[in-house]
Symmetry: C2
Subunit: 403 residues, 2 copies
């Protein structure tokens, strides 16, 4: 008689057949006597279609109105999923984010959860009903609908699990769990049975598309243990928690992000504040800068290289250009896309030699490292896009992740 | 500086081009200095698609969940229309039914409006903003979304006009106004400049698809003067109000409903309560019975004939069959569809000879009358579907409506 929160993403509810299949999976949990809250996303493709409509009307549509628009995606799914449950005899009721008392701040399109009051969720659960909750959305203090940003449904699920003190939170997705590397690149990649929040966070932010890092951060903060598993089969997934029962491993997995562009700013005066001005300008343009290398050349002239998500490349170029105009010096250029390949593992905190083994392995295979960045539990290198898959494979083998 | 409520139906906002065109029309009113509230429906086809999805999952989907599902249609339109207004420089903000404080009872899918609190509409209008309001929807005392039933957006517009004491309420639709007859049947039909609520009500309930009768009833009750006009041109439409400035005419228009089926119940015992039982059974099956004729034949055996909307014909047949089983006598049969042709006008209250002229005209043209029903301001006849258009044309001429 556990209280279980399940979350199903857009591909898991993309058409009526998939919704029926999700309903059957929910019924199984309900038939076992559990109290079940289900968080659902918009049907696959719906959100992108709505965004396209809005942008066809206005290049930069108002954030508040975008939230009014986008929340209909999840509202459609909660009603259809509830109706599908009724069809197989499961008592169920839908709730929007507002009805579940998911209160956020007023920052439309990327609101932060402030408080979860829960609405009548406990009453509905105690009354034997499955509650189908709209993910991705909340309501602010003035009664306006808000959205939590990309991947927000994962965050909704983790947050409602924390608020209800759920025994289990299951994130159903289209992959079996978290792997030591992308199985499409490394066929011998293995599913990781348990992983720590920090490792999951690094993997999430490094291009493993399983989950958004905000949801993992929230789980870490509130100690919500969750499982990432497939909505297509009954295989156990990956459990994410604070302490794994297994010994810490040196390297938990290899991640690869092929969606980065390198920006080179050259010939800037090597004076205090020049780099700061450039990064302030990028921050104002809401460009997330990732890896950074600065080197000072001859005669007090500096070069600055950094990577940004490929989608933001032109926005970054414009922001830097504006800044260079006011500095009166320097030039900016975009290169082709590059790949960022990373190894992640909490074990590397207490072991030396991991970086050295990584660099040696890449060198032995003739892969040139363009940039390096590190944190306590990860090492990332920027390399050419062509070498990305090779790099992932040789690193996976070098750290014996296939064993 | 008037306060204007405009309402645009589903065909007026069916695609992005039409939404842009509606935005331009709203801008014109705003530019003239008026305060404008705009009620919009779901984009044409959206509601039917959602209903089809729900019914594919469950033959009789839950009413509450249907309301959660269907309200997304209008929510999509309010956001897109608001964004389209921003694109042409008009300050605008969207509001759902709940946000506008449109409180209803808890009868999902056909809720009745209980109270309109208005939310912050007056503040927004006083702040210079156009308010785009979702039609068809409200909220009940427990915070659950409700819908007002078919044609509910007209009702939303009339009700919000009453609550805000609007100076003008314009119902934009795909016809130019109310005509003396359907111009597709009678090319010389004329647009009626002004019409009384009662006449509009009769026309609405007699197959003129301009507006649902509930909205007209509401306008009549609260004295809301409104105009029915086209969203495709700038022609003046038809003003609907309590007292027209023109003299009452004998016959204001000819209406035709081709969507009726005649049900014949024969050989029922002519005993007290037999007919009552049949109609109670039909009421329980939620079949709206329209015209009724009962005649007693020889030996105490009665026949009963009535018409129902064609969509309800089989439901009606089943309901009557069940009832005849318990009576132990009688049989029921459906005929082909019939047409109901009506003449409407408040003037006929004080004039005799209108019915006689109607029947004579039809007889002269060889059109056989199968059933007759009358009210103070209308006379309807059931005739064969084949003769319907002919009947409308000859009656239109007989009552000089083309002059």
């Amino acid at each position: 008689m556990a209280l279980i929160v399940q979350k199903y993403g857009g591909t898991s509810v993309k058409d009526l057949d998939r919704i029926r299949s999700v309903a059957q999976r929910i019924k199984n949990a309900h038939d076992e006597g559990h109290r079940v809250v289900v968080v659902v996303s918009a049907r696959g493709g719906v959100t992108n279609r709505l965004i396209a409509d809005a942008k066809a009307l206005h290049p930069e549509p108002d954030d508040r109105e975008m939230d009014v628009l986008l929340t209909i995606g999840e509202q459609e799914t909660i009603a259809l999923t509830t109706i599908a449950l009724h069809a197989i005899g499961v008592p169920a009721v839908s709730r929007t984010g507002g009805q579940a008392g998911i209160f956020t701040d007023a920052v439309h399109t990327k609101a932060r959860i402030v408080e979860i009051r829960g609405g009548d969720l406990r009453e509905q659960l105690n009354g034997g009903k499955v509650v189908i909750l709209a993910g991705f959305q909340g309501i602010n203090a003035n009664g306006h609908v808000t959205t939590l940003g990309r991947g927000g449904s994962d965050l909704s699920a983790i947050a409602i699990a924390a608020a209800l003190k759920a025994d289990l939170c299951q994130i159903f997705t289209d992959v079996d769990g978290v792997y030591t590397a992308d199985p499409r690149i490394v066929p011998e990649a293995r599913k990781i049975p348990e992983i720590k929040y920090e490792e999951m966070l690094e993997l999430a932010s490094l291009g493993s598309k399983v989950m958004q890092s905000r949801a993992v951060e929230f789980a870490n903060k509130y100690g919500v243990v969750f499982e990432v598993r497939s909505s297509y089969n009954d295989n156990p997934g990956t459990i994410v928690k604070a302490q794994t029962t297994l010994e810490d491993v040196l390297v938990r997995g290899v991640a690869c992000d092929k969606n980065q562009t390198k920006v080179v700013v050259s010939d800037i005066p090597d004076q205090p504040g020049a780099a700061a001005q450039i990064f302030r300008s990028l921050a104002e343009a809401q460009v997330n800068v990732d890896m950074i290398v600065q080197n000072v050349g001859r005669q007090g002239i500096a070069n600055l290289t950094f990577t940004v998500p490929a989608d933001d490349a032109y926005k970054a170029e414009r922001a830097v250009s504006r800044c260079l105009d006011s500095l009166g010096a320097g030039k900016v250029s975009l290169t082709d896309r590059i790949a960022k390949v990373s190894i992640v593992g909490v074990g590397m905190q207490s072991h030396s030699g991991v970086a050295s083994r990584m660099f040696t392995t890449l060198a032995e295979h003739g892969i040139n490292i363009q940039m390096i960045s590190t944190s306590e539990i990860k090492i990332s290198v920027a390399i050419s896009l062509d070498s990305a898959d090779d790099a992932v494979r040789v690193l996976h083998r070098a750290f014996a992740l296939d064993q």
